[in-house]
């Protein structure tokens, strides 16, 4: 390896030189930072300044540079030197913009700036240039699991973008639920009449597409590998096994209708004249094939009156049935009511609803149905009883506030969507524990059987065979910020398996998932990270000789990137890694690191801060801030000139999950008076970019109180704060409040050791 040459660059622009003594900063970089080369510049991000740095890299052999100017989030295009290790000292947003320009403040502002210069120098010396993931695969074929509307759309769109697709469908034909529809809800102007379901056309396009290889009557027996190099075993009807190499996967396994048998109060199963929405589509298809009107199943007579029951087994606050709204059923019932009105306007057609939800252009369709004479009544159905060849529908009219009833030849229940997500891996992981806890005699097998239907992907991942699930069994998706993203890199879910949606939404979803999958394949081929650190070339490395096989990294990795090898050592699949650093934060023996982000890069910064002695009345507070939300919020606080305490020193971290407790103990041992952690909201409505990172980090850090007690320190010295990117105005206030609390404590007894 060539010899390291370190350099520090101090920018004087943006009034930095007016607010701080630049000579002092140069001294800090030279004396404390021990940089080989220290330069100052009037305007570092200008073409001239950048040229100066480039010249140093090429002619002076600079390999490590600390750029002390603005925030690392600013001027990233100008300061783009991929061949060297680089750190940034935040003198602008982090110092001069958050401090008042007064004579009294000058001294503390200068100290702050000098500390940030020392920290940048210390950090860069602990870094190396990331070479990119070498263990990569460059397969550019996409696997789509599920041949319904979503799956077919993903396949066609990927093919259009020039990628090969393997499409696997469990049943004997493509089309899924859409193929069972007589017609579909209108998709174009004037949104008034039901349209052809469009399946035949898509199937024909897939058949004619040489990029798309279709497996029917096939399931996924095994999925092994990582983005860019998945190996998939496909079980075909004949009993044989086909193997495909794919680069990324889209799971579009869709939904089933909520089982209407669970709604005996609505007469389902008691009379054939109560059907669910799929049942009505079947009746309509059969009737159209025979050229007859839709008939009553009980006696084959044409239907003269029909009642649609919305939200059947949905939006149930009691928790017995589905708790959510499936979103598509109102439009579907409107469409089905139209079937009747279009064949005979005299058919009595009533839709009983509590809230009619017709997203998008459904409103036009709703109006068109009203114009056709479909009656919409706001009412809650309590009971449907068979009554000869008819049904009596008891309901409460919510407008007239009275219990009433209606007679109908046919009753249609809008039962809603249940996702086909495969195995609930969290429940399976918890099952043995539950079974152990249960009194003996209870068969633990049953527990697993009820929560574990057959797996869809059969992943060989340590963390389970299927995608993680969120609320109500829908597959994982970062629904707040990045809805296409899942916790399995290179595997995307699309369509109703992800959340309830109609055909149009599913097609849009499938197109988006195809784009993300293509991006993931391409990034994997280049050895780069996928979202949210897209393009990051660093990846975790482990010093196995120091590993104690505690398995914390394999258990905690939110993305299932780490398996275990035969000797039970962690086996990193770098292509599956999102570079959040949760493994690094978890590792109790600190053997996991990234080239440009490690226990050392942060530890060196903590040690580089000059901690004044206990008589100075200048406390030091360390802030470890999530770089995704908290750090930008701090930057924006600076841009808005919200001032905060001069005794804090902020170090950005990739995620709260990457915070290793050694940093906190080191800081406290080094004489810091307090440590503040800033991470994203966790829990069900999390905002963490890495989904579980902040939660795992918080859990780990909740144990830090014992450490503090062991050191005879007040437990309030470590504070955990949930920060959103929008908190730029309130954040400085919270910092100041915390700083006031710290100042109320006696100085840390560890100063000066």
């Amino acid at each position: 390896m060539a010899e390291n040459k370190t350099a520090a660059y101090i920018c004087k622009g943006c009034e930095i030189d007016k607010r701080v003594d630049v000579a002092g900063l140069v001294k800090a970089a030279t004396k404390s930072g021990k940089m080989n080369l220290v330069r100052e510049h009037d305007f570092l991000c200008s073409a001239e300044g950048v040229a100066m740095i480039k010249n140093d890299i090429e002619n002076e052999g600079v390999t490590h540079a600390a750029l002390c100017a603005c925030s690392r989030r600013a001027k990233t295009e100008a300061f783009n030197f991929p061949t060297i290790a680089m750190s940034r000292g935040n003198l602008r947003e982090g110092v001069i913009w958050i401090r008042p320009d007064t004579d009294e403040a000058r001294e503390t502002t200068q100290e702050m700036a000098e500390d940030y210069v020392r920290m940048a120098c210390a950090e860069v010396k602990a870094m190396t240039v990331p070479p990119g993931n070498q263990k990569t695969g460059s397969v550019k074929t996409l696997l789509v699991v599920g041949g319904g509307m979503s799956g077919m759309t993903s396949a066609l769109e990927s093919s259009k973008a020039g990628y090969k697709v393997v499409l696997v469908e469990k049943s004997a034909a493509l089309g899924g639920w859409a193929a069972k529809l007589y017609k579909r809800v209108p998709t174009r102007e004037p949104f008034k009449a039901p349209e052809d379901n469009g399946v035949a056309d898509m199937v024909a396009r897939i058949d004619a597409d040489s990029n798309i290889k279709v497996y029917l009557n096939a399931t996924i027996a095994k999925t092994d590998g990582a983005p860019g190099r998945f190996k998939v075993d496909i079980a075909i009807e004949s009993g044989s096994m086909a193997q495909e190499d794919v680069g990324a996967i889209i799971q579009a396994t869709g939904f089933t209708l909520y089982d209407a048998n669970k709604l005996p109060e609505f007469g389902y199963g008691k009379t054939p004249n109560v059907v669910d929405q799929a049942g009505l589509e079947a009746l309509a298809k059969a009737a159209a094939a025979e050229g007859k009107p839709i008939c009553r199943p009980s006696d084959g007579q044409p239907v003269k009156s029909v009642v649609f029951v919305q939200c059947a087994g949905q939006r149930d606050p009691s928790g017995t049935h589905l708790q959510y709204c499936s979103g598509f059923c109102c439009n579907t019932s409107i469409k089905q009511a139209t079937y009747f009105k279009d064949s005979n306007p005299d058919i009595d057609t009533v839709v009983l609803f509590t809230d009619l939800r017709t997203p998008g252009n459904g409103e036009d369709f709703y109006r068109a149905a009203q114009n056709r004479g479909v009656v919409f009544s706001k009412g809650v159905v309590s009971q449907v009883t068979p009554n000869g060849n008819a049904c009596t529908v008891k309901f409460k009219d919510l407008i007239l506030n009275e219990d009433t009833e209606a007679q109908a030849d046919l009753v249609v229940l809008a039962t809603g969507m249940v996702p086909v997500s495969g195995v609930n891996i969290d429940a399976v992981a918890a099952a043995p524990v539950e079974a152990e806890a249960a009194v003996e005699g209870e068969a633990p097998k049953e527990v697993v059987a009820t929560i574990a239907p057959e797996s869809i992907l059969n992943l060989t991942y340590r963390q389970g065979p299927d995608m993680p699930q969120f609320k109500h069994g829908f597959t994982d998706s970062h629904f707040i910020c990045f809805p296409y993203e899942t916790r399995r890199t290179g595997i995307y879910t699309a369509g109703p398996v992800r959340r309830p949606m109609d055909i149009l939404q599913a097609q849009e979803d499938a197109t988006g998932a195809a784009m993300k999958a293509i991006q993931a394949m391409e990034n994997a081929g280049l050895g780069k990270a996928a979202h949210p650190r897209a393009g990051d070339l660093s990846f975790p490395t482990v010093r196995l000789e120091g590993c104690t096989q505690c398995k914390r990294c394999t258990v905690e990795c939110p993305f299932g990137a780490i398996d275990e090898d035969e000797k039970r050592f962690p086996l990193f699949n770098e292509s599956r890694c999102r570079r959040c650093g949760t493994c690094m934060g978890a590792c109790p023996v600190r053997v996991i690191s990234f080239e440009n982000y490690s226990v050392n890069t942060v530890g060196a910064q903590i040690k580089a801060v000059d901690v004044p002695d206990e008589f100075s009345e200048k406390p030091r507070i360390l802030i470890l801030a999530c770089e995704n939300d908290a750090y930008p919020a701090l930057d924006m606080a600076g841009m808005n000139r919200h001032e905060y305490d001069p005794y804090v020193r902020v170090i950005p971290v990739r995620c709260l999950g990457s915070v290793n407790t050694i940093w906190i103990t080191d800081a406290l041992n080094g004489g810091y008076d307090g440590v503040m952690l800033m991470g994203c909201k966790h829990g069900e409505d999390y905002q963490c970019h890495f989904v579980k990172g902040s939660e795992l980090g918080r859990y780990r850090l909740s144990k830090v109180g014992d450490t503090l007690k062991g050191m005879n320190l007040e437990t309030d010295r470590v504070k955990d704060l949930e920060v959103a990117i929008t908190d730029m105005a309130t954040l400085p206030q919270k910092i100041n409040e915390y700083a006031a609390l710290i100042k109320s404590f006696p100085p840390s007894p560890f100063k000066g050791f």
Partner: protein, 214 residues
């Protein structure tokens, strides 16, 4: 008139919505209501004046086939035609016109509420106006005041005495109207001819609707 009610009830059987759609003016709008309740919320009379049902409920009752309750409801007669509901309806339903259409239909088939004051005013106003070609204010007031007998009529007149005197003094009320003097319409015959023609046209239109098609 009672005959017409039975005739209509028989013809439409249980389909009151269809009856309103075909027989009441603007009745075809009833089906377009989406039950948001904005009309009821916008009504300035706020049902404090004794409305039987807010407009949203009237629409729902029509769909639920509550024929007797709707036709006998006083709601349509309480409308002041401020048009707030019409302006605000997100479905652009002309609620004011629909209410008037239903009121007129109920009256036509003899099912409107009996002794309903605003209905009485409408009838009196219309008769007075068409008879004289313009409103004879003294006679209109007389008819209204003495609707419930001589005693209450005199009492009401005495209560309003000072107002009446003020109107007379400022020339806004001519007492001669009581005896055939005062303001007159220039061409009473012409107006009567116009009204007769209009009645004829309307009768034709309604007769066409009242007889079942085919």
């Amino acid at each position: 008139m009672g005959d017409m009610n039975t005739q209509m009830a028989d013809r439409y059987k249980n389909n009151f919505l269809k009856e309103i759609e075909e027989q009441a003016e603007m009745g075809e709008w009833v089906k377009m209501c989406m039950q948001c309740g904005l009309c009821s919320g916008s009504c300035p009379t706020n049902f404090q004046a004794g409305w039987d049902h807010p407009p949203q409920e009237i629409f729902m009752m029509i769909r639920a086939g509550k024929r007797d309750e709707v036709l006998a409801s006083n709601s349509m007669w309480m409308c002041t035609s401020c048009y707030n509901c019409y302006v605000r309806c997100p479905r652009k339903v002309p609620v004011t016109h629909v209410m008037h259409g239903i009121a007129e239909y109920a009256y036509r088939i003899g099912r409107s509420p009996k002794n309903q004051p605003t209905q009485h005013l409408s009838k009196t106003f219309w008769d007075n106006c068409t008879k004289y070609g313009r409103v004879n204010e003294v006679k209109l007031t007389q008819t209204l005041y003495f609707k419930d007998g001589i005693g209450s009529g005199i009492k009401k007149a005495m209560e309003m005495q000072s107002v009446a005197m003020g109107l007379v003094k400022s020339g806004r009320l001519n007492l001669m109207e009581a005896v055939g003097g005062g303001h007159k319409c220039k061409d009473l015959k012409g107006i009567h001819a116009m009204l007769t023609k209009a009645k004829e046209l309307e009768a034709q239109r309604k007769a066409a609707k009242a007889t079942p098609a085919g």
